[in-house]
Symmetry: C2
Subunit: 377 residues, 2 copies
């Protein structure tokens, strides 16, 4: 599209964007056009519904609607410690990150390296793991179908040791009771018999993170709820705004309810090949007729969601003697067929394994494998 056509189009859609200085800058106009085009694809209502779908809870729904109306590029963040190897379980929050990106958000992934180091992993290893996370997560997000231009990585140690951050943390600590910190941490931090003070400081750091990352929205699992509520209740006490809190449901592990970081067979690594994926899923807990397992949850909250987005059907291949191939476009029908035992766990698992491998095949292995080796050797 040539320069004058672009200008005409912008004038038509949003004349306020055409300031006098912009008139002579075709690159700026092009960027504005892309933004307008993206926004124009989805209405505020559609963007809101995209963000809300499959969440367990949103604290501040009205604020979220207002935010979508008023802010060009709202900011959200998700925090995680760069420790264990990223696995297919990350698809679940990954999909919500994709939803946010598609809804026009800038998304920051906070990699909490300090927390990881305080958990007794040396800095050198954590730095290598940070590098791997910062490489593999964008690959995962792309594989799930979102653009990663608005995806950013932030290193905890580069933000959380700043004097102003620490002062605010101390300020918060003088407002929040020991009891409230204990309550907030209880579902996230392993407290054990003799809990360490760090476990009570972390929830306050998470509140400060919202401020220092400059976000409008925090994304986390429902296990983060009490920490999020603590942040909302206490940030205003030190002069900051409370944030919108977006919660994904906590789902059972794909392979079994008890995931173990020491046993690699309980998790599908993002770099596993087709054979490994198939083998691991084959061992997944899934009793015939029973829908209470990780495979069904993965289908409901992830696989059938992206299938629907792509307007594709899930193909379940079966030998003719077991009823032949069958296609599903709706999770509810899969669920019904599993309950009535029309659909056998083995066939579902095989289909899910194929779909996972298809997604993983999009990851640029050459790019991430050397980093993976450095981080986990």
């Amino acid at each position: 599209m040539d320069f004058f056509k672009q200008k005409t189009l912008i004038r038509f859609i949003n004349p306020s964007l055409l300031s006098s200085s912009d008139n002579k800058n075709p690159n700026l106009l092009r960027i504005q056009l892309i933004i307008i085009y993206k926004m124009a694809q989805l209405s505020v209502e559609q963007r809101f519904e995209l963000i809300k779908r499959n969440t367990a809870e949103i604290i501040g729904e009205e604020d979220l609607k207002k935010l979508l109306k008023e802010k060009k590029t709202p900011v959200a963040y998700l925090g995680t410690a760069p420790t264990g190897k990223p696995h297919v379980g990350y698809f679940l929050w990954g999909l919500k990150v994709c939803d946010l990106l598609k809804a026009g958000f800038h998304v920051k992934i906070l990699l909490a390296d300090i927390h990881a180091v305080l958990d007794n992993t040396p800095w050198s290893i954590i730095d290598a793991r940070y590098d791997y996370y910062a490489a593999i997560i964008p690959e995962m997000i792309k594989a799930l179908g979102a653009d990663t231009k608005e995806l950013e990585f932030v290193k905890g140690s580069e933000m959380q040791l700043k004097p102003e951050y620490m002062y605010d943390l101390l300020q918060l600590s003088s407002h929040v009771s020991v009891h409230d910190c204990e309550k907030a941490a209880s579902e996230v931090v392993k407290m054990g018999d003799n809990p360490k003070l760090s476990g009570l400081i972390y929830p306050l750091m998470q509140a400060c993170d919202e401020q220092y990352l400059g976000v409008d929205v925090q994304l986390g699992g429902t296990d983060q709820r009490k920490i999020m509520v603590l942040a909302r209740e206490n940030l205003p006490k030190i002069g900051y705004e409370r944030r919108i809190e977006l919660m994904n449901p906590l789902l059972p592990g794909l392979i079994g309810k008890k995931m173990s970081s020491s046993d690699p067979n309980t998790k599908i690594d993002l770099l596993d090949n087709e054979e490994a994926v198939k083998k691991k899923l084959n061992k997944a807990e899934f009793i015939e007729g029973d829908i209470d397992n990780g495979v069904m949850a993965f289908l409901e909250y992830f696989l059938m969601v992206i299938k629907k987005d792509k307007k594709e059907k899930l193909l379940i291949e079966r030998p003719e003697k077991f009823g032949g191939n069958v296609e599903y476009s709706d999770f509810e029908v899969i669920k019904k067929d599993v309950i009535s035992k029309k659909l056998h766990p083995m066939d579902v698992k095989l289909a899910v394994a194929k779909e996972i491998s298809k997604i993983l095949s999009n990851i640029d292995r050459k790019k991430v494998e050397p980093l993976e080796k450095k981080a986990y050797s």
Copy 2:
């Protein structure tokens, strides 16, 4: 003394100090000479006894002896929040600071401004109070008879918000249990019904203070004991040395057992005039025949100590009809005479008031009064 005499003297006392480069620097020689002269005044044993006298406890006595033998200028610190107006009660730790200075220590006074601000006093006021403290305390130390060349003031906020300090604080928090922090804080921090998390963080900050102030010794009241023990037990866990902990006894207030910061009559301000001192002391709790009061404690731990240092006697003036003037060079005799009611509380109080006024008269009021006005108006 001329240059060559100095060199000869140094060669005689400590030839190792005469390195080739020093030979040509008269100033350096002069400084070395002063140090040697000061050290020569007191033996290690004498310096140790000076530090130990009237303390309630020293944790690490052997380390202290070793320190005095091996380190030219050891470093000690005392921390206080620049909040309430410095009063005559400060004489008690002030005297121990004098002892340390006379024993060849460099003494740092940490003025914990962050703690004070977190206690809801605005920065502007705390900054003014910092200035007053940093002016009046050296005046007090001089009035108590020590040189203040080796007295230094450190602002908490200039040290405690540094990234490396905060990282170490977080490190410590991952080693120390909530329970141990609670125990350590219990005697110092007002915990109340719903204690704030800051109260549990402060003991860990005090441990970090020892490291970041670079001290060998911490001085505090016995109420600090649990915090000091916490520091000794946990600093080595993050790679730092444990420090020597020096504790002054906790004494009853001079005027009454319940000192109140809201009632200025319960404390003698360092800028009170003779009349005010007399009036306040007149109201001090002191039952005839009873030695369990602040006036007697002040005599035992402060006044008769400096009298002895100066080889002076305490003069108690009485009308002839009540026995006439009497002089004491030993607290034990005063004690005996009070118990046997040979000495009346009124006469003791009057004598103490005179002595306090004599000390306070050494303070350079013109220098500190403008700062006092800014800090407490």
